[in-house]
Symmetry: C2
Subunit: 381 residues, 2 copies
């Protein structure tokens, strides 16, 4: 199996891009990526996009994007796996290089949410859930996370101000990050006085409406020109779980636990080896559950390291150093590619909040409420 | 690079399945496939579906299907590349096995069109075209094929009765095929007296409204148990072209010509080596253009072999032996997987219209008007 490297990344600012189309956003990020990898020519294009059908009435997006980039004759395809679309696209790119069939695969994540009205958007993201089971009955992802939140507070006798602290953390990190959407401090008091979204989730405990595009060039070993700039994509693990209402423990993402056991087994990596962690945190309550499911903290103690300051850039386990979904923003199909690009910046020693001696990074991605979990393991060369 | 085999196939009848959901259809085809491959356990699930977002309001379909099949903990993803979604899904499965990362990959194609009203469906399939360029101006895929049809008739001084003969051919083949949607003869006179869809395309020159699901188990060499039942997936080639209005010659699919030159180069296969051909024929006019673009016939002569009877099951190049898109039916995201399953039946000597001594089969798939072309080369073991 051939090794897989990241030889280029391209980011656009996450924002509400009222004056840019899906094509424009993609063009920007791909140009940045091509420049960054010294203009390698891709031989496969993989596009990650989740809601372009609903919002822009545009399916078959990969071919449209390829044509707009004048990248003709090159096979292209589009991946949609709900919120984990970016991770799936990366997995397909990984297989493409690992198989030896392709030398340079361009992965593009793009999403433009601001074209939708808020009530439309909520309806669209709900389509990631089972329609017949959840959506028909008016259940949205936020309402399920609210149930988890209530259960967490009650079962572990936890305080909301400790959970909400995760959003504060994301915002503090984002201040230095040029491509982040919301670059200001957000104290916990401000979060807890914001309107209720779904009780007990406060508005500022949720991800914002974000547009953005991020691109990554995956390459085989012989295509690596600059060792200081390239990063090894060591492994992608993935697992799934039954829907949240059928689980033995709603406060544990078994798919994530399973994904990490694959990393331990095949890459021989333990949590103590990881220099920084990127987690997929659509709502603050997701964060402690993710950290506990990874095995980093005991049940009910998922916010302990945060309170101890261990998630700062010079702490034991730096977390979401570019603002996470809350403050960098969450352009659904592009989000995981942003997470990976940011991790590449860390491993190049070029991050906006640089972690000292960052050699191994772990990126987490998920769909729905841990229904699908992905882990992406990155290593400095 | 590891070799890739097809060890199981599962079909459902193509029809308007008013009483079955996406889940039901999928369940049937996967059960058939699992039985056919002697109950191999997949380690990756790839779902091809094009319009489930629009029609069933269901995205993230691969995870839903996996849960419904109790196939948990197994990574799953969904591919959408417009009408070529099935070919893309197969390509991802091919890379998954070729890389050595997976042993058995379950590819599932499913589409349920009958839940949409006709005007909705036309609008949904138009979303495969560039919205800003085509759809906003009221252009649909059928209207572009109509332009090609007029041009073909005029430039080559061709007769519509010769082009319409391709639909007749599809229907004649489908009579014996249990899973085909329309199993009756359709004489050319009947086609040419059917209502005009888009001038000059007659209603019976177009594909019908079809629901269906087809599944394929791809396996690595060490998983092949029954040599008589397994087929080698020798190669998948793919290429793309600019949109039809920008092309030098609208009556030539350069992406297909390019795809076939890859097959010639890498698999050392010429047209004379192929024992049967499956083409993606949404409208009758597509057929001669495809056959000419492949290099099988000169420009303007694409219907010559048909008139000579060479596309019959015992002819020089048997064509669409299970009824093609017109008579087997065209459940968009599942169609290419139907084509491949039918080709596997040919190579197992179990086809409904068996081609004598069928050893090498070629399957063609495309998106839009040849914007993307795929060729899938299959060999008997």
């Amino acid at each position: 199996m051939n090794e897989v490297y990241i030889t280029g990344i391209g980011l656009t600012k996450v924002s509400e891009h009222w004056n840019k189309s899906l094509k424009h956003l993609t063009y920007e990020s791909v140009q940045n990526c091509l420049k960054d990898c010294n203009y390698k020519k891709p031989d496969l294009i993989v596009v990650s996009n989740a809601l372009g059908g609903f919002i822009q009435y545009q399916e078959s997006l990969s071919n449209l994007i390829a044509e707009n980039l004048s990248l003709n004759k090159i096979p292209n395809l589009r991946i949609e796996t709900g919120e984990a679309s970016g991770a799936s696209a990366l997995m397909v790119g990984y297989m493409a290089i690992a198989s030896g069939m392709f030398k340079n695969v361009l992965i593009i994540g793009v999403e433009k949410i601001s074209d939708a009205l808020p009530h439309q958007f909520i309806s669209y993201v709900s389509s990631f859930l089972d329609y017949e089971y959840f959506v028909y009955n008016g259940i949205t992802p936020a309402s399920i996370f609210a149930i988890l939140y209530k259960l967490y507070l009650k079962r572990y006798n936890a305080k909301q101000e400790n959970i909400a602290q995760f959003a504060s953390h994301d915002h503090k990190m984002a201040i230095n990050v040029e491509h982040a959407q919301y670059r200001f401090n957000l104290p916990v008091e401000r979060i807890l006085s914001s309107p209720i979204l779904v009780d007990p989730i406060r508005l500022f405990e949720s991800y914002p409406v974000s547009d953005g595009a991020a691109s990554i060039m995956l390459s085989s070993k012989d295509q690596v020109e600059n060792k200081d700039y390239s990063v090894k994509l060591e492994m992608i693990s993935a697992s799934t779980d039954v829907n949240v209402l059928y689980r033995e423990d709603m406060l544990l993402f078994a798919s994530l636990r399973d994904s990490f056991s694959q990393i331990r087994k095949h890459a021989k990596i333990e949590l103590k080896d990881i220099d920084f962690l990127e987690i997929y945190d659509p709502y603050t309550i997701a964060s402690p559950i993710i950290l506990e499911s990874l095995g980093l903290l005991n049940k009910g103690e998922g916010y302990k390291l945060l309170l101890e300051g261990q998630h700062e850039k010079d702490g034991d386990l730096p977390l979401n150093t570019h603002g996470g979904l809350k403050a960098r923003g969450h352009p659904i199909g592009a989000t995981t590619l942003y997470q990976v690009c940011e991790s590449v910046l860390q491993l190049r020693d070029k991050a906006y909040n640089q972690v000292p001696n960052a050699y191994i990074g772990l990126v987490h991605s998920m769909n729905n409420i841990g229904d699908q979990s992905f882990l992406i393991l990155l290593k400095r060369l």
